[in-house]
Amino acid sequence: MTMNHEPDLRHALPAVTEAELAVLRDRLPAITDAELAVLRDRLAARADAEGVLDVAYRTLDTPVGTLLLAATEAGLVRVAYPVEGHDQVLQALAAQVSPRVLNAPRRLDPAAREIDEYFAGRRRAFDLPLDYRLATGFRRKVLSHLPAIGYGNTASYATVATAVGSPRAFRAVGTACATNPLPVVLPCHRVIKSDGDLGRYRGGPAAKQLLLDLEAA
């Protein structure tokens, strides 16, 4: 019997132990978050350059909470409040626009800058390419009218309904505002009830109040 000489490994190989597995996984050079972050940045840049970054997103800290900003190649497509659940919003974007969704802040730089300026009181209107694809038909018509309500002003749902040519459709105006895919940027917060009540808001009533107060200052 050979004892300490080379065994025929192919047939007499002991099973790989848990300890050995741990060695394999743990003693190889660790992969740091920083290394992965570099690779992920590079992936986002290349995806954008090759036209396969269908949805780019980032988050932005603001006085109304951390906003999720998402843009297609056409423009800003979604602004989402924390209360909407950012993961769910991204999942919905994957289903409704494209699953090619990456955390890629660069495309959102102009939007983030303008929103920052807005909350700092240095900007009264947004000048950004917008992608309206998440709103169709009447809702889109209502949303495109919103910038016409100037900074610091408000309008009632009925007024907006009249302005878009459907005076009796004030409830549909309310729905269009409550489901605005681009809150803050498309100022649905400026649309309130005729009796002065704030009405529904995607970011919650406190956020709507804060925006109106900001613009009144």
Binding site: V16, L24, I31, R42, G85, A94, V101
Partner: protein
């Protein structure tokens, strides 16, 4: 547009929705990089990782929703690693002196030794060890990726581990511990 908060019983989607690609990168990025490093070494691993995830992003909309994403990614990584090795071979110019493997002096010196031991395995063994032990794929999947039979994949991994036990004694059980 669906409302984001539905208090009542949620409508069950007909098909499992495909997660945003970012979720795929977050969930498998580290494993794929570990596999690329094991198969190609650290110098080419970043390129392989980038090529893998770019190709995966392009093909992602066509991936069946119930596909095994990790096996799919390792399959792509395997092909990209072959491409990179071939490209390197085309670029290579004969040199008189083969450079010594770079051993960096640092606290984790032993880590580098294991990486070197892995790098010294024949390619098939390296692939089998990486795909089975690092990516956790069953031998059937490993065989589908590398070609050949499931048994051959199992043998390649076993031979690789056996060699590692010799070239990197640190892989063996710590002293005083009985199997």
């Amino acid at each position: 547009m669906r409302t984001s908060r539905s208090a009542g019983p949620a409508r069950l989607p007909q098909v499992t929705p495909k997660p945003p690609f970012e979720v795929v990168v977050a969930g498998h990025g580290a494993t794929v990089l570990r596999v690329c490093r094991a198969v190609l070494g650290p110098a080419d691993a970043d390129d392989a990782w980038s090529e893998t995830f770019l190709a995966a992003l392009k093909a992602y909309p066509r991936l069946p929703a119930d596909a095994n994403v990790e096996a799919w990614l390792v399959t792509i990584a395997h092909r990209k690693a072959i491409d990179i090795t071939r490209a390197a071979a085309r670029r290579a110019v004969p040199v008189a002196d083969v450079p010594e493997p770079l051993i960096t002096q640092r606290a984790g010196g032993r880590d580098i030794e294991l990486a070197d031991a892995l790098a010294s395995l024949p390619r098939r063994q390296r692939e089998a060890v990486a795909y089975h032990y690092l990516a956790g794929l069953p031998y059937q999947d490993v065989a589908a990726i590398t070609g050949g039979s499931t048994d051959a994949a199992r043998r390649a991994a076993a031979d690789g581990i056996a060699r590692l036990r010799k070239t990197y004694p640190g892989t063996a059980l710590p002293d005083g511990e009985n199997p």
